[in-house]
Amino acid sequence: MAYEYAITICDGTGCIQKGVRNLRQALDDELAKHQLTDKVKINLSGCLGMCDKGPVIVVNPGYTIYGNLVKDDITEIVTEHLIKGNPIARLAIQEDFMYNRFFRVFGDAKFFGKQMRIALRNCGIIDPDSIDDYLALRGYEALAKVLTDMTPADVVEEVKKSGLRGRGGAGFPTGLKWDFTAKQQANEKFVICNADEGDPGAFMDRSAIEGDPHTVLEGMIIGGYAIGAKKGMIYIRAEYPLAIKRLEKAIKQARANGLLGNNILETDFNFDIEIRLGAGAFVCGEETALIRSIEGRRGMPRPRPPYPSVSGLFGKPTLINNVETWANIPVVIMDGAEWFKTIGTEKSKGTKVFALAGKVVNTGLIEVPMGTTLRQIVYDIGGGIPNGKQFKAVQTGGPSGGCLPADYLDTPVDYESLAKAGSIMGSGGMIVIDEDSCMVDIAKFFLEFTQNESCGKCTPCREGTRRMFEILTRITEGKGKAGDIENLQRLGNMIIKSSLCGLGQSAPNPVLSTIKNFREEYEEHIHNKKCRAGVCANLISYTITDKCIGCGACKRVCPTNAITGSAKNKHTINQDKCVKCGMCFETCKFDAITKL
């Protein structure tokens, strides 16, 4: 159905308090009155970040933002703007925000409704290979502003005030990190962008760089100015060739435009950026391992303190932030800390990018304000679970995160709430799990990854995760025994508290959280030798029921000739021969085979 207008209504807390829901009713009534209901599409959005001007609605095409609305204004908007095509200047807000640029283009799509785009503001909008596209959207203006109006200390203060926290996982206050590094006296300092994204299924950093490489550069240059560094490095895994190509191109363009190199924007500030390629070790996302890797050594974490802000790359004070954190910086500077800290929750400001994957209708890359609930992400943005299946859990934080069951769906995503729920923010992986997944198997999957990727340096992580993996493997093979759960917990808690780096300190999370939230599944595996999701091959058996009409289809597909029976008579499966491949189950057209 072709519609002529798309109206986005801000359904954020601020606007709700200011009565936006009454306006919605008024708008519906007004549209109905003019028989426009079919021609205007209405979307609800999450907070649009203009709370002080609420209630706010956006009319597209044209990207007209109306603010401070009262009920009567709705009538005017419908009659003047929607019918006559004359936007109402009196009600329009003239703002040139850096964030949420996608609303100009995508303001009409449900998928984006609850999203708010700061880090990804240009992704999917501009041509990433064109610095002109970036410049046209106020690119590098934050840098210019910093170089014109702000001292390095002002910049640090602004970042501090914004409440921005590291988006790489641990959520350390970015401003504090900047402050520590800025305060160090040294003849040389470094700025590093951590683009070593290693979580399975995570692609936030890759997409951000591929879609808008210049914002990362701009953030880093600002960081260099703030802490007094002249050199920046982007550590990115070699498995990201396109992102690397785009970064290389962006760096070249920035140099040609006097935005990198000597005398940036005709000032006496000098700064340049180099790309360093990682070989793809997960642990090299840990900052001290990453630094060692740049130094040409084996990527293994070292104990902290000293922190990189004191002694980092080549022993020099080093400011290391993740891609998404850097991408936030130009917006923090341009739209200001005061605005930035209105977004999000009390302790977690701004937005967070997630790679939404798994059993969800709309898989994708999303950016939502902190405080958005898991339910909103899974159902409003993700579109819920496909094929009418039941939601079982959502796993946040990548391989080191926890699995949260339905009871936790109303948990707001922010650092503290997720931690309290038994998971972590992590770098932003989010995997939705439905009833067809076995939680023991899921835990085993993640642990297989982390124990493989352990750097091998510290004992708890190197040896402990392997033992946990062995116990889990045993359980999924039907060889679990009493005490296994307790041993998993004992090892898991010890590994979390004893390991050298964040990898080990979080590796047991998937196991501990599934034990906590889905203990009955573990017990079924161990004591009843049963996998309710039918995933663990050793714990399922196929049997033919009386529904069998003896068509012989299953017999023909069975690779081990485990099925016998004469035509038109009920067939049977020889359990000793059955390898549980499931071919018969898939083939049977009469639902005559059960999987238990």
Binding site: P303, N452, T459, E463, T465, R467
Partner: protein, 594 residues
């Protein structure tokens, strides 16, 4: 105002210095926190996590080896919770370790064994698969057994940080992590200098020397051959520690007696051949000095240093003295001079060297050191192997009645004695060179500037108005440094002593393992061993090599004079650049010898 801070350990208040780690502070307060990967001479690894403690207000346990104390800190070292975590960590190490203590080289002095005992591990909770690797037996000196490795990283650190060789590194990830030479090539093909420091610091038996004790026991029973031993200076200064004596007891007489009881027909002193080395080396130095030869001259008695030099510093080959080491000179004399003397076919002689060193095993096998087509030294055993043989043969070493070495390769000057400690060769050489050059006897013979454990020591003396500048380096890492100086300032030194091991031979890779109350390469133990040798020097009336009457006799009867043709044939050698796996070509011009 003092800069002490207040902390609490296990509820008790202490005032400690603020600029230290929890581990050191706790040590000072009398709490010895269990530890494994920590070593005082090496960088902090923080890897084993055995030294974890609880700090109030910190969510996770902290590794006390790397976590600094702070004012008001409340530390708990011994709660039930932390004890259990530590115990579990050690169990995890055991679970992936061969449980073959009874048949293990390190049974009885294994740090993991001690730790397991101290943790009170009586049951196993987490057993699973164990790693399995082939032993690397390729090296003539060091055996690598990755199965026993617990990945504390001490070997990797000593090899790079102290020795500057970087022969070892971790490879692969997680459970598959393994310490190996570059590309997992056989150790023999690697840059390993065979110094054996990895053995010294290894808490388990992941590194051990190539053991010749069984072979030697067999040969000692062979009545058809003449069995001759020679004993290096620093062996006597350290072997007592293997019998739980405090460091620094000189066990020369007990050693000579024990070796005879083991079946050796003659027991000689390598200190005698050290005097011989000085005669040749001092003469060579003077020849270079007087005839415009290549300077600075660098000593050549440390076999690990020789291999290191041929690999990493081939451009300086011409600077290195052509003198063989005392061991090889001694071996050469045994199979020529002494064989003649007693009128026996040298092929019937078994020449055994008891050394503080693993690299000597490698040296003994060098073909260019052969004498008349025979190996000068047939078997080299380390101090540890000697101690084991003595124990195994049931000899009461500690209460043994001391005996003398056998003539004519017995008598040594004080100069030969101090060979075993860093700076000793230089000091000995100066005592003789001075007299050979000036015709006057050097009276002030204890040269303090080149004594002690500074990594790099410099000294100078005036000989007939000519200033002679010398340098002393010990530990191969310091060797690299002094050679870089030589490249930059070729005229800075005239004579350089380099010893491969920290402290010189007394810190050799074949010395006794640290006891339960000590650490490997403990500075105090090294100092005590050095003192034993210096005391012995001081107690001697003959303290200059050229005054040794047996040496004088050797030249009179056999060699003629230093640097004679015969001396060149038997006591000097040559070197060739080596390029084993793992060498990266630097922009150094290699000067290939003639």
């Amino acid at each position: 105002m003092d800069d002490k801070i207040s902390i609490k350990i296990n509820g008790k208040k202490y005032k400690v210095a603020g600029d230290q780690t929890i581990m050191h502070a706790a040590d000072a307060c009398g709490y010895h926190i269990p530890r494994l990967c920590y070593h005082p001479e090496l960088s902090i690894e923080g890897a084993c996590r055995v030294c974890i403690v609880q700090v109030e207000g910190v969510k996770n346990y902290v590794a006390s080896c790397c976590y600094p104390v702070a004012d008001g800190m409340k530390i708990h070292t011994n709660t039930a919770e932390i004890r259990r975590a530590r115990r579990d960590i050690v169990e995890l190490l055991l679970d992936n370790h061969p449980e073959d203590c009874h048949t293990c080289e390190r049974d009885g002095n294994c740090e993991l064994q001690r730790l397991a005992y101290a943790m009170g591990i009586r049951h196993r909770h987490f057993e699973g698969v164990k790693k399995h690797y082939e032993k690397d037996l390729s090296s003539p000196s060091v055996i690598r057994d990755p199965n026993k490795c617990i990945l504390c990283g001490r070997c990797v650190r000593i090899c790079s940080e102290i020795q500057g060789i970087n022969a070892l590194g971790q490879a692969f990830r997680g459970f598959e992590t393994i310490v190996m030479p570059a590309y997992n090539k056989p150790f023999a093909e690697s840059v390993c200098s065979t110094c054996g420091q990895c053995i010294n610091v290894c808490p388990t038996a992941a590194f051990t020397e190539k053991n010749y004790t069984q072979e030697l026991f067999e040969k000692l029973n062979d009545t058809d051959i003449i069995k001759i031993a020679q004993v290096a200076p620093s062996v006597r200064a350290a072997i007592g520690e293997a019998f739980e004596l405090p460091p620094g007891r000189n066990m020369q007489g007990e050693l000579a007696a024990s070796l005879r009881k083991l079946g050796f027909n003659y027991v000689f002193d390598t200190q005698f051949s050290a005097d011989l080395t000085i005669m040749e080396e001092a003469s060579e130095f003077l020849e270079r000095l007087q005839s415009g030869g290549k300077l600075p001259m660098i000593t050549s008695c440390s076999s690990a240093w020789m291999k290191c030099m041929e690999q990493f510093h081939p451009d300086l080959i011409e600077n290195v003295s052509t003198c063989k080491s005392p061991m090889s000179m001694g071996g050469a004399m045994i199979k020529t001079y002494f064989a003649d003397k007693i009128g026996i076919d040298p092929k019937k002689i078994l020449s055994v060297a008891v050394m503080c060193c693993t690299a000597k095993k490698y040296e003994a096998a060098r073909p260019e050191l052969q004498v008349n087509g025979m190996a000068a030294t047939d078997i080299v055993i380390t101090t540890r192997e000697a101690a084991w043989m003595i124990k195994s043969a049931g000899l009461d070493f500690v209460n043994m009645k001391p005996e003398e070495f056998d003539a004519p390769l017995a008598l040594s000057s004080g100069a030969g004695t101090i060979f075993g400690v860093t700076g000793g060769v230089m000091e000995a050489a100066i005592r003789t060179a001075y007299e050979l050059f000036t015709g006057e006897t050097l009276l002030d013979i204890e040269i303090e500037s080149i004594r002690g454990f500074e990594g790099l020591k410099e000294g100078k003396l005036t000989m007939d108005g000519k200033e002679i500048r010398v340098a002393v380096a010990h530990g191969l890492g310091n060797a690299h440094k002094v050679l870089d100086t030589v490249r930059k300032e070729p005229d800075r030194y005239h004579f350089i002593e380099i010893m491969g091991c920290p402290g010189g031979c007394i810190g050799g890779g074949g010395q006794p393992y640290a006891g339960s109350n000590s650490v490997p390469l403990d500075k105090k133990a090294l100092a005590a061993r050095a003192q034993a040798l210096y005391t012995s020097d001081r107690q001697k009336t003959i303290r200059r090599s050229h005054e040794n009457p047996e040496i004088q006799r050797l030249y009179r009867e056999f060699l003629g004079r230093p640097l004679s043709e015969k001396a060149h044939e038997l006591l000097h050698t040559h070197y060739a650049p080596k390029k084993p796996v793992g060498i990266t070509t630097k922009n150094k011009k290699a000067v290939i010898g003639k």
